[in-house]
Symmetry: C2
Subunit: 407 residues, 2 copies
């Protein structure tokens, strides 16, 4: 009898100790994870993401169940704990970087294309194709706060349910004063959504140019610039002077008369600005354009390896790193913004889709999709520092984005 | 017997459960602390710091034993877990924001004045008055990596031990390429310390102007600008073109001929740059100067309430917030950088010593020393949002500084 009780004691103690030890392991594991040097890598083919650390250059966890992640993008909560992942299938997934788990997920539309988080961190907005419009969610609970349908398209066939089709929305970013700015592809508009008061206000700018397809915000949150798919030139809105309306800039920017085959429209994010010069990917041509930001006219151009996709500035703006469209997407080139000249050509391998600089720019991570690798380069020596494995990696997003305006 | 064993079981289980529960509490407490929205407030009178959270607007912990914290400043590790606090008494203290404890502390000189952390996060440098020079430490262990004594002063009396006095060092900041830049007060120099290779290199610029007393770096890490105590004008070093040497700019900047009583030399940090205009505190006069950053000449000036100390730009550069020297240090004024005009005057109370904006600028925290309070204002409405208690608060430093260049 006594033996039996002792045996019971041992089992109970053992089970308690095991639970305790697991908690201990959990505690020590979790305890040691600050969030300033974390990031999330999209693994598009498998609907997964990896949580990575850019100090130790390691992968911390892999999380699946995020749906269709082609063209997925990410914004971060202001505490850098949560990543909001915008999937192509309308999924909005909140990933917890401290517990390596999904903290919330909603399918909020049929087809979406990126999102933004408000200046105060309380609202997450998603840009939708189907049905066209912007939906705004409570960042904590993912409850719907506002549903802002885009303009109805009277010339298009109606939806199956009899309702009218609405314009797709693109190029959604946050702006100071708890605003969002978004472009309407089919109705040729830019809208400013002001959430600084409980009742939000929408300011609509019409006839801004044909088919805005993407946009960027200047790092100070002042200038919103949309690229046009339907004509040459770009549309600029000065948020400090909305009364001036949308202006047209860079009149020759675009596909031009030659109608070259455009393998991929360049991304309008991460333009380097050094002095008065902005470095801009040309459309369909093997060039990076140098544009004066006072006159918005082209100053010169730099011949490059292929059709540029991303022209990304190092955080100190001294160099821009350029990747290219298929079939020349195995190469990266580096341009010095001071001498306006090409300095380096690297060959990471096929399918270099995206680059992300460490916050102060000493290293750059890049996705080499078709090798299933992430390459980490030193920006001073241009040497490969480390390789990580990843399943068809695409976007890489570090948590310091939480503190940047206009993403 | 059976009863006794059962009782033993209960005690053992209870004790295990208690330990387990404590671990659980620890785990859940620690688990829930990301580091993106944290900060440290200096409580100068008591040698303490508070760890604060700028989402919840709360104080999380108070830590003492940091020595003399007058004029103390802080930099952060790249993971935002550790704050390096530079005390006036030569103390370098590493505070752990996840465990609310001191992770390391060295008394590294007799009298120091701020420091910086390298781009790669591996080195912490401290600027010392006594003995004059820069000491560089391993950021992880606080072991000395390099001791760089400043220039000897042949015209000054020798130290008690017979050694020659060395120049005080000031205005130490980090720069891209794993560099530090520092000014030598008594020997009128600027030094660039290059730690990009295992053997560090020092580049010395002499005769840069009389008695550089503080300095700032442009946000891209390109221009290092030192203020001069011994004459009018400032010294500028373009780190992209070190071969050009140090140039003199703003020839009339300083105390001028009138020899006004200067209650406090203004701080050279946080200048707003909007378009081509920089907003700069005048020395000893009730003015903020507007300076063209192309010509480095004064464009205009804005009359303000007192002698400005900090002229701090909101992260979007739309507004600058100005505090003032004693006896007019109960007031804050706000300037609109677009219209170049004064828009608001606030009276937080006596001893407004420092301001810190939340990373994307929706709020600003300020130390109101003589009321033992921290005030949190909304930057859009200019309304007081919350008050926190603090013991003679001075500097406020948020963790997003970890990702900025030139602090």
């Amino acid at each position: 009898m006594a033996k039996l009780v002792k045996s019971t004691l041992s089992v109970a103690a053992l089970s308690l100790l095991t639970a305790c030890s697991m908690t201990h392991q959990l505690a020590s594991k979790v305890e040691l994870r600050p969030t300033g040097d974390l990031g999330v890598v999209i693994e598009r083919a498998t609907g997964q993401v990896q949580i990575v650390n850019h100090t130790s250059k390691t992968s911390l966890a892999q999380i699946d169940g995020l749906g269709d992640l082609s063209h997925a993008s990410i914004v971060y909560s202001r505490d850098q704990r949560f990543a909001y992942v915008f999937g192509r299938d309308g999924g909005l997934t909140k990933v917890d970087l401290l517990t390596d788990s999904i903290a919330g997920r909603v399918i909020q539309s049929g087809n979406s294309i990126g999102g933004a988080i408000s200046q105060d961190g309380k609202l997450v907005a998603v840009s939708n194709y189907t049905p066209g419009g912007v939906k705004v969610f409570n960042a904590e609970t993912l409850e719907l706060v506002a549903d802002i349908p885009a303009t109805e398209l009277s010339t298009k066939p109606r939806n199956k349910d009899g309702s009218m089709q609405r314009s797709k929305t693109v190029g959604l970013v946050d702006a100071p004063g708890n605003k969002f700015v978004v472009s309407l592809f089919d109705s040729h508009e830019i809208w400013v959504l002001d959430f600084s008061k409980p009742d939000y206000q929408v300011s609509k700018f019409k006839d801004i140019g044909l088919f805005p397809y993407d946009a960027l915000m200047s790092p100070d949150g002042r200038y919103y610039i949309a690229g046009l798919f339907g004509e040459d030139g770009m549309a600029l809105l000065d948020l400090w002077h909305m009364e001036k309306g949308v202006q047209r800039i860079l009149p020759n920017y675009g596909k031009g008369d030659k109608k070259l085959p455009v393998y991929k429209m360049p991304h309008l994010e991460g333009w380097a600005i050094a002095g008065d010069n902005a470095f801009v990917p040309a459309v369909g041509q093997h060039k990076v354009l140098v544009v004066n930001t006072k006159t918005w006219k082209q100053v010169t151009e730099i011949p490059v390896h292929g059709q540029p996709v991303f022209v990304m500035a190092q955080p100190d703006n001294r160099q821009v790193w350029v990747n290219f469209a298929f079939p020349r997407n195995d190469t990266i080139q580096v341009i010095d913004t001071d001498s306006i000249s090409l300095t380096d050509t690297l060959k990471p391998g096929p399918g270099v889709l995206h680059m992300e600089f460490t916050p102060r720019g000493e290293q750059v991570w890049m996705s080499v999709r078709d090798k299933n690798e992430i390459h980490i380069y030193d920006t001073l020596s241009k040497k490969l520092v480390k390789l990580l494995e990843a399943e068809s990696p695409s976007g890489i997003f570090f948590t310091n984005r939480a503190h940047q305006i206009g993403l």
